[in-house]
Subunit: 422 residues, 2 copies
């Protein structure tokens, strides 16, 4: 059970989190609780480090910043003990959580299970683990980078073979679209790992991508729910046939998009490699790529990237143009765009999703500038001003406000299983 910073933001919330843990213990389960630092603590420690100056040893940064989680872990253990729940805190080096040496963005290499299992065998019911940290081969403390507590939780669940990993956060679960844009947006009961990955990469800030990838790899069921309501949240899990009944699960959007067009380059082998090689060397984060129809041996190449990369991209292209590696007639860019995507494993087996999507946008007079697809996602670039209209139009078109169990055959056995997970 992972509790984020706002979920343990003060002693009241910490106590509430402890009660949730106790509920599980009362039902006979052993619990590993992963905690973040209390909201604001990590930033406070980072500011302390930054007030020392601009350059610092990443190993020392980690040694300072990891203390936030240490304090929360101890306090939660104490709170549980107050409730007569046998609990103890574990810092990363005590488990041990072994990490790579990439301080500040370390990767979990392994988790030693023996110590924790031994204590469980001796009567400990809850292991409260300080998230976001581990220890390197050099016996130094390493932090995992932002979102590292989610990753810690999934890694522990995978390593210990937990039946469930629950992420207690400040959102209710995963919605069919951003509820601030679509009031009728509905909370999804279940979503597959692949769909969650697409939603996460598109900015749905519910679960960190690395965590979802790890969960998918080790088949860890992950429930995302709110610390502040009794909603059962959303279960992120393996695909099941019921999920494929709905053509799409949700709509994601991103405002941080820009479009760059290289006007009229020679249409021959090697050009694309030269262009995108140069962009990659400059760390431009290219997303969608479109090459228009060739005419008289020349073509336009259009791609999308984050707004902050536009200048870097222009310079990289001007550079290879200046060195004669390519020869274009012009460079255009447009920051006034946004990306809208429909996501769903159902589109693999159901035809017409793209057609319905383009039709819905056309009905609103929204021009599609770029299209890009993957097996379970269709993305378009449209004018920025159409973002909210586009999302709402698509939400209506695919009737996402309606519970999908009403749309198709209901597998009762799978519904029962879903209820058990809750």
């Amino acid at each position: 059970m992972k509790f984020g910073g706002t979920s343990v933001g003060d002693m009241d919330r910490l106590t509430r989190a402890a009660r949730r843990v106790r509920l599980q213990v009362d039902e006979g389960r052993k619990v590993i609780a992963i905690v973040s630092a209390m909201a604001g603590e990590t930033n406070r420690l980072i500011e302390c480090v930054q007030s020392c100056g601009t350059m610092f040893d990443a190993r020392e940064y980690d040694a300072v910043v990891a203390n936030g989680e240490n304090v929360t872990a101890g306090l939660l253990a104490i709170t549980l003990q107050q409730m007569n729940v046998p609990a103890r805190s574990w810092q990363g080096w005590q488990v041990p959580v072994r990490t790579s040496a990439a301080h500040g963005a370390a990767r979990i290499v392994d988790i030693g299970v023996d110590n924790v299992l031994a204590r469980f065998a001796e009567g400990m019911k809850v292991a409260v683990v300080a998230g976001f940290q581990g220890v390197t081969n050099d016996n130094r403390i390493a932090t995992l980078g932002r979102g590292g507590s989610d990753l810690t939780a999934v890694a522990f669940a995978a390593r210990f073979g937990s039946r469930l990993c629950s992420i207690h956060t400040d959102v209710d679960g995963v919605y069919t679209a951003d509820p601030r844009i679509v009031p009728k947006a509905r909370k999804l009961d279940r979503i597959s790992y692949e769909e969650m990955l697409e939603m996460a990469s598109l900015g749905a800030k519910v679960l960190q991508s690395r965590s979802v990838e790890l969960a998918m790899q080790y088949k860890v069921p992950v429930r995302v729910l709110s610390s502040f309501s009794d909603s059962s949240g959303t279960l992120v899990c393996d695909e099941d046939p019921n999920m494929e009944l709905r053509p799409i699960s949700g709509i994601a959007h991103s405002r941080d998009e820009a479009k760059v067009t290289i006007v009229s380059v020679a249409d021959r082998p090697g050009i694309a490699a030269t262009v995108f090689g140069a962009l990659a060397d400059s760390s431009v984060n290219v997303d969608m790529i479109v090459q228009n129809i060739s005419e008289k041996g020349r073509t336009d190449i259009t791609f999308s990237c984050p707004v902050e990369d536009v200048e870097t991209a222009r310079q990289a292209l001007a550079n290879i143009h200046g060195r004669g590696l390519i020869n274009y007639q012009g460079l255009l860019h447009d920051r006034d765009v946004c990306k809208i995507s429909v996501v769903g494993i159902g589109m693999r087996s159901q035809s017409g999703v793209a057609a319905q999507m383009f039709s819905a946008l056309a009905q609103e007079g929204i021009n599609i500038q770029v299209i890009s697809t993957s097996e379970i996602k269709i993305s378009v670039l449209v004018g920025r001003r159409y973002l909210e209209l586009a999302v709402q139009a698509l939400h209506d078109k695919f009737q996402l406000d309606r519970d999908n169990r009403a749309l198709g055959e209901v597998d009762r056995a799978q519904c029962v299983q879903a209820q058990e997970e809750i």
Copy 2:
């Protein structure tokens, strides 16, 4: 070099401490810097723990509270690195500092030197160690109790064979008397371990007693100085003949004293054992003991103790009286007293110190209620109202405002040695 909480109380002070460390590095020395938590941090963490409730696992208390020192250690290491001084932070478990399992008041059992020495050999110039903590055999974090950072510093100096242990704090050094009572009180350049122990136990809050005992045992020279001035402070070290030239080194006082008198008990063997056994069983901290002249086979017994122990003492005595183990005519107590002590190794070889002390008090009309002596200390109980007068009168009587090097033969070689220490 140990830096207390106020000496690293904010980033400015932390930087100042770093400069002092760098000075030593510039002179070719390797430094182990022991740090406390920033002023107020430990209390904040303790309050967090206490807000969880009244009872808690001492091991979890330690896991939370030790984080204060961890943060300071990291920040000081970063600050030194900013100054191009190769430094790294060490938490207790990383050194390792091995302690007993008495969480909250643990004893240092051993300090592993290999890791730190290996890093010194590789180029590290400063090891910044988080004071106040260590690790138990159970791989749990243990704190050493209040004043534990002083103890850590002396223990490291002993174990690493350091040439000096300096305690950087918010007082200037050890004075001949409390400067707030005696404006003419003078800072001592040197004081012996035994004298320091007597001064410390009498409330001179400069150095924690356990630290002085450890320094004495391993012959670690300890310099106490202020973080906020350039004074060279006071060197606490082995006795030397120069120290014996002065009859006394200083005057200590304690306001937290009460006097209890058991009136008229049988004067026979076993009574004192019964009385003080009962007091010890009740954890009454008995200090001075006086038994008056016996008359007709009965005697009075008077002792002193802290004011807060008076009620417990009375109850313990009433209890053994009620059970018939002793038979007294009455119990008297007086909270309106204070204890004045003169301390000095010189009194071992110089006669008349007691006479001079009692004469000085008599001249001021101060009645002496109880007298107690040890090899290097003479203590008296007098009425509370006479405290300041008594201290000043004694300070004048023994001419403590004058530098003792003017009083007797000066050993130039030892003066030079004292200067080198600075």
